[in-house]
Symmetry: C2
């Protein structure tokens, strides 16, 4: 016990020193800094005094068994830091013990049993009101996750006894994919520049890299692919390996492994070889040597992510080889040391097949031919991160291949960081989907993992807007536990980030939960998709029909004309439906029975087709646009009433974003209706507001400065 107390005293002194520093700089700069969002969900704001008093009784000194180095030491430090913020330095004497199972006493041995067979990172928390709290794990990372779980529980103001249970990650790989280029540009990034300062590495390590690792570890993320899938080969060169090593060393105590996107043609681009043919012995030897070089610097390097033969990227098909040939060659080079993650996001310039069908057609025949350390990474839907897509038909269709779910945290197609859209409902919709082939998507990806295209950037709030932090948070929480509900995640995040007040949560959580549906309504209602203006993917561009590749055109997706609208993917059309299990396909085959949120994804229907409401399709469509606009207004109204619960700086920032969203929801609705009317010649239903401008106006808008290109 003395040791723990000693720690507390030292921390006490540290806090006193810190306090002086805070006062010194805070008085001058606090108005600007204090609530700029940098602390994310790790603010650890003081608990309500009565709750804090009770918590202090049972959450006393932190005792770490073992030598306290590395990750376990990080775990202890995080608990100290978090509890100091929430409870202050003076706390009771019932200890919080962090212990690996090997260090448990005889009387605690039952905790080890709880963890028998549990995957890496699992932990158990026991909370005895008298004996104190124990966090036990079989590995140091489990202790770290346990520390953050305990903090989250306290920060969420939940009854302490409820924290006591066993926690197991739902999948082994929980990865952020950064589409960050080495020059600092972030493809589809809406939060400033890249957070990775390659230019100054390895000498200069931005302190932000530590805060990044903390944030990830706190929600269970255990790896980061640090560069864009449209990769530059030079990032495999020695000078970059030195930079990567500095990052890996900084992140190791937080359980974050470094992964790299690899350009398949690297042996040719930087290796001096004539070819990158995966069956060429010199190519194989080059990758072997490259892997050895990386692992000599970074023993726990995670592996390589590859976008091959997709959107102009090189790949094995350039040499008449298959995706499996390419992936397996790299897998052999990594050996047991790491993982090859091979993206299934492919569609061909020459292929006339419905784009929604192409990945399935290319990959499913390869089932069972990928090496053990290859994972095929599949986007949530068959097109490309639209506001709504049905789940990807590959899930469940490759029983002998590890499949990983790729989600997009950054909102490429959902209004960038300007529009509020909480994405947990989108992801749970996919995770919970029954593939009809023996399990849900969550069950299919459980042996592999989940990737999220990051929304981080140099903006002080990390994500471009305060509410976009919730999507990073939700991604991590769902990757750890795909059974969590969107509501629980929203509530947890909002309490940690803004306020624990019930009145606040009762208003903000429903707003978050409906927000993605709102965006889908004013952008792409009833299963429409990919109507964003070409290139930047921001505002509406349903009229774009003349780009050289058919699938670059919004017209390709909506197929609207005087007669009707929608993409026939039934047997009378592209028959993409047949890629799904029969039960699933049946549920979507009949336009009278289908969940109408998927209607026009699968069906081409006349404008007067009777919707399930009984209204003609056209009227129903207009009603949904209008509902989206009204909901955007309602969000702004709801938020305006929440100012008592949020600091002025963040409250104003969100309010200003919601003002943009209100304006742009109208823009989406008005431009879309003006365009549909130009095709169908129909009047708007009685009582409906006419578009503010004519179609020519909407078509004339250009945004050369749009971010994220």
């Amino acid at each position: 016990m003395m040791r723990g107390r000693g720690v507390v005293n030292r921390i006490g002194a540290w806090l006193a020193a810190l306090l002086l520093g805070v006062l010194a700089s805070g008085l001058a700069g606090a108005a600007a800094q204090a609530e700029d969002g940098y602390d994310l969900w790790l603010r650890h704001a003081p608990l309500d005094p009565a709750r804090a008093e009770a918590a202090r009784e049972v959450l006393g000194p932190v005792e770490l068994r073992g030598d306290g180095s590395g990750t376990a030491g990080t775990a202890r430090g995080e608990i100290e830091r978090g509890l100091a913020g929430m409870l202050g330095a003076d706390r009771g004497n019932r200890s919080i013990t962090l212990a690996l199972t090997q260090d448990l006493t005889e009387g605690e041995r039952w905790l080890a049993a709880e963890l028998a067979g549990a995957p890496p990172g699992s932990f158990v928390i026991a909370a005895d009101p008298n004996a104190g709290t124990i966090v036990a794990a079989r590995d140091d990372t489990g202790l770290l996750y346990g520390a953050f779980a305990l903090l989250r529980h306290v920060a969420g103001d939940r009854p302490l006894p409820e924290v006591a249970r066993t926690y197991r990650p739902g999948m082994p790989l929980r990865l952020l994919n950064h589409w960050d280029n080495p020059d600092g540009h972030v493809e589809r990034g809406y939060a400033g520049r890249s957070i990775f300062d390659w230019w100054h590495l390895p000498e200069r390590l931005d302190p932000r890299m530590i805060d990044y690792a903390r944030a990830n570890a706190s929600i269970g993320i255990n790896g980061a692919v640090v560069n864009n899938v449209n990769a530059r080969a030079f990032m495999l060169e020695p000078r970059y390996i030195a930079k990567l090593k500095r990052l890996a060393d900084a992140w190791r105590p937080y359980g974050i492994r470094v992964y790299l996107s690899a350009r398949f043609s690297a042996p040719r681009d930087i290796g001096g070889l004539e070819t990158a043919d995966p069956l060429d012995p010199a190519v194989r030897a080059w990758w072997h040597a490259k892997a050895d070089e990386i692992y000599a610097a970074i023993p726990d390097f995670g592996g390589l992510l590859v976008k091959a033969n997709s959107e102009g990227q090189p790949g094995p098909q350039d040499y008449g080889r298959t995706h499996a040939d390419g992936a397996n060659m790299l897998a052999e080079a990594l050996g047991t040391r790491g993982t090859v993650i091979w993206r299934a996001f492919v569609y061909s310039a020459e292929d006339e097949t419905d784009r929604a069908k192409q990945a399935y057609e290319e990959f499913v025949p390869l089932d069972g031919r990928f090496a053990d350390n290859v994972i095929v990474q599949v986007k949530n839907g068959p097109i490309d991160f639209q506001p709504r897509e049905p789940f990807h038909p590959m899930f469940g269709a490759m029983p002998n291949t590890k499949l990983m779910l790729e989600t997009q945290i950054t909102k490429e197609y959902l209004g960038f960081a300007s529009h509020l859209a909480f994405l947990a409902p989108m992801w749970t919709e996919v995770l919970d989907a029954d593939t009809g082939r023996g399990g849900t998507v969550a069950e299919v990806v459980a042996p592999a993992g989940m990737a999220g295209v990051a929304n981080t950037g140099s903006d002080r709030n990390w994500s471009g807007s305060h509410f976009d932090q919730a999507n990073w948070y939700a991604f991590g929480r769902l990757a750890w536990d795909p059974s969590l509900s969107s509501e629980d995640i929203a509530r947890e995040w909002a309490a940690l980030t803004f306020s624990r007040e019930e009145a606040f949560l009762a208003a903000v959580v429903p707003m978050m939960l409906s927000s993605r549906e709102t965006v889908a309504r004013y952008m792409t209602p009833m299963g429409l998709a990919h109507l964003m203006d070409t290139g930047h993917h921001y505002g509406p561009g349903p009229w774009v029909c003349d780009l050289p590749r058919p699938e670059w055109n919004p017209c390709y997706y909506h197929r609207a004309d005087a007669g009707g609208i929608g993409f026939d993917r039934t047997a009378t059309g592209s028959n993409a439906l047949e890629q799904y299990a029969p039960g699933v396909a049946a549920a979507w085959a009949d336009p009278a029975e289908i969940d109408e949120r998927y209607l026009l994804w699968f069906h081409h229907l006349p404008w007067d087709y009777p919707a399930q409401s009984g209204r003609p399709l056209w009227d129903e469509l207009v009603a949904r646009y209008d509902r989206g606009v009204a909901e955007a207004d309602a969000m702004a109204q709801t938020w305006s009433e929440l100012s008592p619960y949020v600091d002025p700086q963040r409250h104003r920032a969100v309010a200003e974003s919601l003002a943009i969203q209100r304006r742009e929801a109208r823009w989406w609705r008005d431009a879309s209706l003006a365009y549909w009317q130009s095709l169908n010649g129909l009047d708007l239903p009685p009582g409906t507001r006419a578009p503010e401008h004519d179609l020519d106006y909407y078509r004339s808008l250009v945004f050369p400065e749009a971010p994220g290109r």
Copy 2:
């Protein structure tokens, strides 16, 4: 008096509330945030207790005469905020009075006399130990500057009586030039992305825009050109005028006027006209209407900056007109409302003349032909922001034209934000230079102003490194008072930014003062110039000789071969010397008499030419490279000893940058020597370290990810 006390009480309550907020967020995040550099020189850290005690006695409540709105209110708020940080909330009762001259009492009327005829922004401070302190000015902005001057004085720990005097700006325009593109990229920016969030304006105003205005106002900067001189015409469109208006409204209370870089071809690009000929009536009408449109939104819009017929930009010469024709046409459109700033940075693809001579040749014949509200903006030297250049020969050569000095705060040619180089000595070298035509450069530009190409970006420390903040600071201070010494500025900045301890200042100030010379020594000693690798301008590239335009090649500038090195700009060569006044030219004409820091700028000399030291030129050159490297080492050593005075986060950040600089100083020296040796075949002087690698190695280095392109 009651009113002032009331303010103090309200501020006291505000501080108490703030304190809670600081504690709440600070305990969790302070270690990362408290000293991240965001507060710049406005930290206002608490004074030493004894000094604070004394200051509290005489700096009591702040009393503002007048209605307290706008800029004057800002002035009061800033004093309150700054003194609260340095002295705390409890202070004595001797007041600080802010008063316009019209509100002075009979007894104070002598202060108004002090300001008779003083330019806008002037102020006077009177400090009576009994009656209190008065800041008087003829305009609100003067009160704001006075507030910041008082704070700076207190923060610099200087005796209060010394603050009492009259302060007049040395020139009317003190402008930042932002080379920021609307998409967020900053040309020659090394501090992240643009601080201007055009995408979300006008609805969303980043709070950083207020902190930016505060920082500028605190050093007397009174305008900002918010976009790159390589301008996009669409920034003159209505949607951008709305965005500009929001910025202008936010900055107005800080005395910052908005300026825009204008693309000369805008009438054609966005105006639907066939031409941009400045003598075409339709073109003139278009600019008139555009100016009216801007002024309707922003009544105090500053004006337009134009880069014309330079590096591919359109201009009046495209229509056979002169720079004066172009500038005067825009000047007429603005009328008395604003200023046209026309850049003299021109050189032609076709012109065979020494590039150093071209601006003079194009502009000097136009002297007297520019309208009254036109200012010609001239770079400090005749080439392009090199580590050292002689002053530009246009200064003094256009007595009937307003000339403005353009400096580059961002370190395009001095190691980006990686190398420490304090630039005040470079700028004072130019400002103090006697043109030989009736005044110094400072005197020549006094009727116009001074521009600095900003080094701001989205990095939390604003400038890419902590020490680069000093260059922003020095620019502002020198533009306000060009007679300030570099030493005074360095001392002031270091005390405000890091520590007031004499032991710290005694070490860091000399290090800052010599730092630019150090960089010049290891990059371009003895008057060499423009040897940076092409395009990015970062590392050494003296071997680049084969680019299509001669003046793009470092070889063009060094002219080295087996026989010798240097650019003959005497009568036997390009005779650029003749553009200077005879006395100036005479001082530089003789290589035996010239300040050797300009030697190879003006002279081509054999490698064995006896330098003023008596050593052969080659030996002298090597010695200067070596001295530069040794000085870079010494900076790192000096800084390592200053850790007791600086918070760990900023100390480490600077130390890590200095580690880069040490490595790269060697790179510069080694690569340069290897190249010179490849030409002259000479051995290194005895005892000299050989380059670490061979020339091929240095030539092989490429940096596709270099920032700022």
